[in-house]
């Protein structure tokens, strides 16, 4: 049985079915991310003065990831254009680049997550706070590469503090009141950061799998039905550009403001 309107446009809609389908899907995705962005706004504006983190995320990593995604959006478009002019070799090259760029993005994101996972805030019995990256721990003591501050508020705005001296901090376990890493449970900022970027990273992963399929085993269709294959590339490309669009707003919202 032949599926109708996979290549030709439907007379009533003016576009082929998959394209209408992906636009409807993207509309639902806008609402999904919109809900989370509105949650971010609520948390950010509702935070008490001085209690919203600044400078917790490395702008350099965010910038590199922005450039990687922008490049991958461009290679996706060029892969589609190469399909359109029937240059299969160039399609393979451009989409291969897209996959590599996406994997690099995920690699950097994983590194950032790992960095937060090994970053600890420790409340001590004398009322001070130790903060830094976990170097080693055993039953008796914990060793961080970080610093000790008197007030927890000093840990929020890192941009305002110019000379932060970091060093080895040894803490006896007997002096610890509470020890927690910078995972999603740490505070509302890390919760919304991991939720937003985690959902976005899942979209990147899903998109990469689809693009990999179309680049690899799925590319057999090019020989039998190149027009339909080109439409598949266009539809997957629309999804990929949407993922780039989301990052265009995630980067400034989380890293720069």
């Amino acid at each position: 049985m032949e599926i109708p309107y996979t290549v030709k446009n439907r007379p009533d809609t003016g576009i082929y079915n998959a394209k209408l389908g992906v636009w409807l899907f993207l509309a639902s995705e806008v609402m999904l991310f919109g809900g989370l962005f509105s949650a971010y706004v609520l948390l950010r504006v509702g935070a008490q003065p001085g209690h919203w983190p600044h400078g917790w995320l490395d702008v350099r990593f965010g910038t590199v990831n922005t450039i990687l995604l922008a490049l991958s959006a461009i290679t996706t478009l060029l892969a589609w254009a190469a399909c359109k002019v029937r240059e299969f070799g160039k399609f393979k090259f451009f989409h291969g680049c897209t996959i590599l760029l996406a994997l690099t993005f995920l690699g950097i994101k994983s590194y950032e997550y790992h960095d937060k996972w090994i970053h600890y805030e420790i409340q001590l019995k004398d009322g001070t706070f130790a903060d830094g990256h976990l170097e080693e721990q055993d039953d008796k003591q914990v060793v961080l590469h970080g610093r000790i501050v008197k007030d927890e508020k000093d840990l929020y705005d890192l941009r305002a503090q110019k000379d932060i001296q970091l060093g080895e901090v040894k803490i006896d376990r007997a002096n610890i009141v509470k020890m927690q890493n910078y995972g999603p449970w740490h505070n509302t900022f890390t919760a919304i950061y991991f939720t937003l970027t985690g959902l976005h990273a899942l979209h990147i992963l899903g998109g990469t799998l689809v693009i990999f399929y179309l680049w690899g085993p799925g590319s057999k269709m090019y020989k039998t039905d190149p027009e339909r294959f080109t439409n598949r590339i266009e539809v997957s490309g629309l999804f990929w550009h949407f993922v780039d669009l989301v990052w265009i707003f995630l980067f400034p919202v989380l890293y720069l403001t």
């Binding site: 576009i15 919109g34 609520l42 922005t66 550009h241 400034p252």
Partner: protein
């Protein structure tokens, strides 16, 4: 006919992409500069407005040129109009309800 249905010239697409990439590089740099600049004053609202304004330019480039949204069919625009309407509603309701706490609410 939408742009994606027109005959494609790969070289012209490469040129277009190069221009878009350069603009994205510039706008990203501008966002970072705005974030760290002291010239924008200390007001958080003004700084955020500038940064998000630049992000909107980036988004326009991606949606308009890479997604061919500047020359799409009417149905796609209709779908997106509904999306924008509900998105604005979602954000608007959130902002509207921001200070709407029941009498007697205590903030810790």
């Amino acid at each position: 006919m939408s742009e994606s249905e027109q005959p494609v010239d790969l070289k012209s697409y490469i040129r277009l992409c190069a221009v878009i990439f350069l603009v994205v590089l510039c706008t990203t740099s501008a966002m970072i500069a705005a974030s760290f600049s002291d010239h924008l004053g200390s007001g958080w609202t003004g700084r955020v407005t500038v940064i998000l304004g630049i992000a909107v330019i980036n988004a326009f480039l991606v949606a308009g040129y890479l997604m061919h949204l500047l020359s799409e069919k009417k149905l796609v625009y209709t779908v997106l109009c509904f999306t924008v309407f509900f998105f604005i509603g979602l954000m608007g309701l959130t902002l509207w309800a921001m200070g709407n706490f029941p009498v007697g609410t205590i903030n810790h």
